[in-house]
Every structure is written in structure tokens, then in C-alpha cells.
């Protein structure tokens, strides 16, 4: 691999490369929790979605939610990963008020999903594969709230026990940009699979970011040898839930580490928190002792044995993933890579696009979708689910453009009307007086009139062919904007050349 400019960070004396690994905690999309039947609904009253199991009451036992297993397998298949037919849950033991059992049930020794990959683009638009080490399932903790009272922290257990997938990347991410791209891509895949809604604000996607820096020559040896010993000491920035802050935190942290190294100090391996107000990271205070999680197999749960056939069935039923869709839209629906990227960025828009572009004109459809519909949604601060137009309306509109019954300007007008009042595009063409004049003899008549009225310009055209545009404009004006510009062009050219 070559080192790209975006992967390099300048120190005072030498250049360094970012080395980043991400542990993404993705909340599994499921109705009930991983080990209890309490609801996963967001934003409920405190301690109202809590079963006795979640509250760690004496004698309570976990029972695995099969759908969460299925969701993890699906996600694994979506990143081309190995699915482990035998997996197991382990207990990770530590004390914290929002961890009622005194342990988190997780998967250390035998995770459900093994190695996979995600493809992204570097800032230079170069393709890059980031390796995934594993995906394991685990319980989320509850929520501790520290700012409701001066002397006490408050604990809400609603989130306790919700299923998370921890998706662990290899340290193969080399810039803040790539980190964001990686998360975006991962999120997109999970949204396509409907295994995680990826809502970072609600905390259903969070990341621990491992950052280290490596002097560029050492990094080059690392590339050659694969010797991880050449890499720097890493710090883990915990619990990030904003792409912007992730980018900022990585930049800050890398600079902090470089400063240490360049002044002959060492980077301590530690867990840090990012403070967006100060744009800095600082060490986590609550770590009275070195962690020793004493993982061991959870004796309340049995080993999970999946059948190959069951996994294959899920694989066969996987929906088309964003990378595949991206290529298919370019190849089959004739749109540009840029448009395709924009359109596939959400599953619902991609599906809408496909519905309006199939057997119509992909380019017109993409144009209409991106410039008109997205433009309008953005302007009004709406999301795609608020889209008031229907597939039928859009297909009709595309048809009208395709058959030159309306101009692109007319299309805009019809779109605006539909946006505001709804309506049938074909009916709107005449209602709004937008039908293009395609009667060649009528247009020819207007062209003749314009030529007749402007002899001076006709003379100039011979020496300056660009003036043809001026004639076209005049004809359009005379037709009150209704003449088909293609036909005008054709006739004007015939007459003046």
C-alpha cells in the first residue's frame, strides 16, 4: 500500500501516519432485549422497560433472543465475514451502578462472527479495504446520569440488556476521514440489512476509537513486515457518538501523541474521553484499579450451535447491499458514479430511485431526484420519509420529460406544484400551460420571423457561429418558452449554416 497525503500528519521534525482501529457498538434492531423480553423502545420513562432479569434481581436468568443472533449473523454476512457455527457467551466482570448483574454478558472467547472486510474510499477517492476482526454480541449497560443532583448520580436501567453488536476493526484505518467513511459505510450496510438503525444521536451507534501515531519510515517498515511492534502505543477514546467529534478527537489525539513523542516522552496506553467543548481528550478518571475483567463462560447459557443450512438461507435472503446497488445503478440505469453514490446513501432513496428509474430514463430520474426532490427536502429541512411525491407521479413526470412534452423548466414547475398541492403531472402539463410546442412548421415560422427581423445579427452569425445561441433564445422567447429547444436548435442551425 502507498501512503496517501491524507494519512499523514505533520510533526515538528518528521511526518507521522495515523493508525486507527474502531470498536463500533451497534444496537441490534430488535423489539426485545438480548436476554429478556423487555422492550428496547427509546425514550421511555425511567426504569419502565426493565424486567427482573435486567435489574439483576436474585435468581433471575438470561434467555437468548434468537432474533438478535440472526441479526448478528446477517450483519456478518453483510461484511463478507466468517460465521462461527459454534459460539458462546462469556461474563465480563466489573462493578458499575448501571451494570446490575455485576457483569456484562459478552463474547470474548468464541464470538459469533469472525473476520470480514468493508470497502471505503480514501480522501483521495482511492478504494480501500478495511479488515474486520470480529463481531460479537453483548448486553448494553444502563444509563448513569451525573448532572441531575449535586451529590448523587441517577441510574436508569431501561437500556440495560439491549443487544449490541461490537464490531471490531483491524487497525487499518489511516486518517480521520477514513474513520468517518468506515463508520458511514458500516452504518449503511447495517441499515440496508435492517440490523441497526444507526442513529448516533440516540446512541444506537457508538464507537470507541483507538488512536496511535507511527513515524512514516517506521510505518513503511510495518507495511513491509506486518510487525505490529513497529506501531505506536494507542489510546482508546471511549464512547463517541458523533462523526464530527470522532474526526476532531482523532486529530487532537494524534497531535497530542506527536507532541509527546517529539519531546521525548512516552504515550501511556490509557482510556480517554473527548470533550467537544474544549476540543480535547483527557484521561478517564474513574479507574481506581487496573481492569481485570475475569472473563469466563456464562454458566447460565448454553453454547450456540448454528446449522450451516440456516446460515446459507439467511445469506440467500440478504437484500442487495449498497456496494452492489451502486454498481448496478451505474451499469443498468446509466447514471454517473457520483449520482449513484448519492442515491444509495439511504436504502429508502435507493429503492425509490429504482422504482422511478426502471424502464424510464435513469439520468432524468437521477436528476429529478437529486436536484428537485433532495434539493427541496434539504431546503425545507425534511428527511426522505417526509417525501410527499409518489412513484407514479415521478414516473409520469420523467415520461413527460423523456418524450419532450415538457421542458426541464416545465418539469420543475410541475414538481413544485406536486410538492405543494399534489396532482397528476399529465393533467398539470395543460393546466399550467407547459406543453412544449413540437410542431416543426410552427417553430419554423417563428425562426423565419426572427431571421427576418434581425438582418444585422444574421450577417454576424457567419463570422461568429456562437450567435446561433442568441437566435435560439429569441425563438424561445417568442414562443413564450414553450417551443422544444431541440427542435429550435435544429431549425436555426439548418437556416443559418
Amino acid at each position: 500500500m502507498d501512503i496517501n497525503k491524507s494519512q499523514v500528519i505533520r510533526g515538528a521534525n518528521s511526518d507521522f501516519v495515523f493508525v486507527i482501529g474502531l470498536e463500533v457498538h451497534a444496537q441490534v434492531k430488535s423489539k426485545s432485549k438480548l436476554f429478556s423480553s423487555a422492550s428496547t423502545e427509546f425514550g421511555a420513562e425511567p426504569n419502565s422497560n426493565v424486567s427482573f432479569v435486567d435489574a439483576g434481581m436474585p435468581g433471575m436468568l438470561p434467555v437468548v433472543n434468537s432474533f438478535c443472533i440472526e441479526q448478528a449473523v446477517k450483519t456478518g454476512l453483510g461484511i463478507n465475514a466468517e460465521i462461527n457455527l459454534t459460539s458462546r457467551f462469556d461474563r465480563k466482570n466489573y462493578f458499575y451502578p448501571d451494570l446490575p448483574q455485576g457483569y456484562q454478558i459478552s463474547q470474548l472467547y468464541e464470538p459469533i462472527v469472525g473476520k470480514g472486510t468493508i470497502s471505503i474510499q480514501t480522501e483521495e477517492k482511492l478504494p480501500k479495504e478495511v479488515g474486520i476482526e470480529r463481531i460479537h454480541l453483548e448486553q448494553d449497560a444502563g444509563k448513569s446520569i451525573h448532572d441531575m443532583d449535586p451529590s448523587t448520580s441517577f441510574v436508569d436501567l431501561n437500556r440495560t440488556g439491549i443487544a449490541l453488536m461490537e464490531i471490531v476493526s483491524k487497525p487499518e484505518i489511516n486518517s480521520p476521514f477514513e474513520a468517518v467513511e468506515y463508520i458511514k459505510k458500516l452504518r449503511l450496510i447495517m441499515r440496508y440489512l435492517e440490523t441497526c438503525d444507526g442513529n448516533m444521536q440516540e446512541g444506537s451507534l457508538r464507537a470507541d476509537v483507538n488512536v496511535s501515531v507511527c513515524e512514516i519510515n517506521k510505518f513503511q517498515s510495518f507495511i513491509k513486515t506486518g510487525d505490529f511492534g513497529l506501531l505506536g502505543t494507542r489510546c482508546e477514546i471511549k464512547n463517541m457518538n458523533s462523526l464530527k467529534f470522532i474526526q476532531q478527537a482523532i486529530n487532537f489525539e494524534a497531535r497530542r501523541q506527536i507532541k509527546l513523542l517529539e519531546t521525548g516522552k512516552e504515550v501511556a496506553q490509557e482510556t480517554r474521553l473527548y470533550d467537544p467543548n474544549k476540543n480535547e481528550t483527557r484521561p478517564l478518571r474513574s479507574k481506581e484499579d487496573a481492569h481485570d475483567y475475569r472473563y469466563f463462560p456464562c454458566p447460565d447459557l448454553l453454547n450456540i450451535e448454528l446449522e450451516r443450512e440456516w446460515v446459507n438461507k439467511i445469506k440467500d435472503d440478504l437484500p442487495e447491499l449498497p456496494d452492489q446497488k451502486y454498481l448496478r445503478f451505474i451499469n443498468d440505469l446509466n447514471i454517473t458514479p457520483y449520482d449513484s453514490e448519492v442515491i444509495i446513501a439511504e436504502k429508502s432513496t435507493a429503492e425509490f430511485f429504482e422504482a422511478i428509474a426502471t424502464n424510464t430514463d435513469g439520468k432524468i430520474a437521477a436528476n429529478l431526484l437529486i436536484n428537485e426532490l433532495f434539493g427541496r427536502l434539504n431546503k425545507d429541512n425534511l428527511s426522505f420519509k417526509d417525501n410527499p411525491t409518489t412513484v407514479e407521479q415521478m414516473r409520469e413526470l420523467i415520461n413527460l420529460i423523456q418524450t419532450d412534452e415538457i421542458s426541464s423548466k416545465g418539469a420543475k414547475e410541475i414538481f413544485d406544484h406536486i410538492w405543494n398541492f399534489g396532482g397528476n403531472p399529465t393533467e398539470l402539463v395543460d393546466k399550467l400551460g407547459l406543453r412544449q410546442v413540437q410542431d416543426t412548421s410552427l417553430i419554423e415560422q417563428i425562426v423565419n420571423d426572427v431571421i427576418k427581423e434581425n438582418p444585422a445579427q444574421v450577417n454576424k452569425v457567419k463570422s461568429n457561429p456562437k450567435l446561433i445561441g442568441w437566435f435560439v433564445g429569441q425563438v424561445m422567447k417568442k414562443s413564450e418558452g414553450k417551443a422544444d429547444p431541440k427542435i429550435i436548435n435544429q431549425i436555426v442551425n439548418e437556416k443559418l449554416n
Binding site: 434468537s66 432474533f67 448513569s144 448520580s153 448454553l302 446449522e307
Partner: protein, 95 residues
């Protein structure tokens, strides 16, 4: 002796059990006695032996993804006095 004073303190901290100075020596003695006893396990050749298997389960035997509405906030909180507005409360944690 396998468990020195420092180890006693380390595992006590991990266990969140406070050990007073007066009892530390006795605890250390007892723990060492138990460790000495279980060390007998070191005599067995365990090469190629699998860990004990708790049994296995398949996807059909697991719980289906359906929600129970518990409506039990009072039951969840009724065994503690340390609560406020339906939250549990603990001494302030500084992160």
C-alpha cells in the same frame, strides 16, 4: 505461599470487599490453604482434553423476539430506599 499480602488486597479490590487490617492475615492464611488444596489439579495431564461443555442450544430453542410490557417500575424500585423520581441513586460518580 501463593497469595501474598498484595494479592489479597488486589483480589479484595476486584471483589469490592473491604478487608480490615486485623482480618487480613487470617484471610491470607485461609486463601493459601484453599489454593494449596486445589493445586492438586496441577498433577493431571490435561493435554487434548476439552473444557467441560455446558450443553448446546440451537436457534429454534431460543426465545422469540416478542416484548412483554412489564409495567413494574414500582416492583423494580421497591426494595431500595435510595431512589429519586424513579431513578436509583448512588454517590456521585465523577468520570
Amino acid at each position: 505461599m501463593d497469595i501474598d499480602t498484595e494479592t489479597v488486597l488486589k483480589i479484595a479490590r476486584l471483589s469490592r470487599i473491604k478487608i480490615n487490617e486485623g482480618e487480613s492475615a487470617d484471610i491470607q492464611k485461609d486463601l493459601n490453604r484453599i489454593v494449596e488444596f486445589v493445586k492438586k489439579l496441577g498433577e493431571i495431564d490435561i493435554d487434548g482434553i476439552d473444557e467441560f461443555n455446558f450443553g448446546k442450544t440451537n436457534i429454534e430453542d431460543m426465545r422469540k423476539d416478542s416484548v412483554t410490557i412489564y409495567d413494574n417500575t414500582d416492583d423494580i424500585l421497591k426494595n431500595t430506599k435510595n431512589k429519586n423520581q424513579d431513578f436509583f441513586t448512588v454517590p456521585k460518580i465523577v468520570e
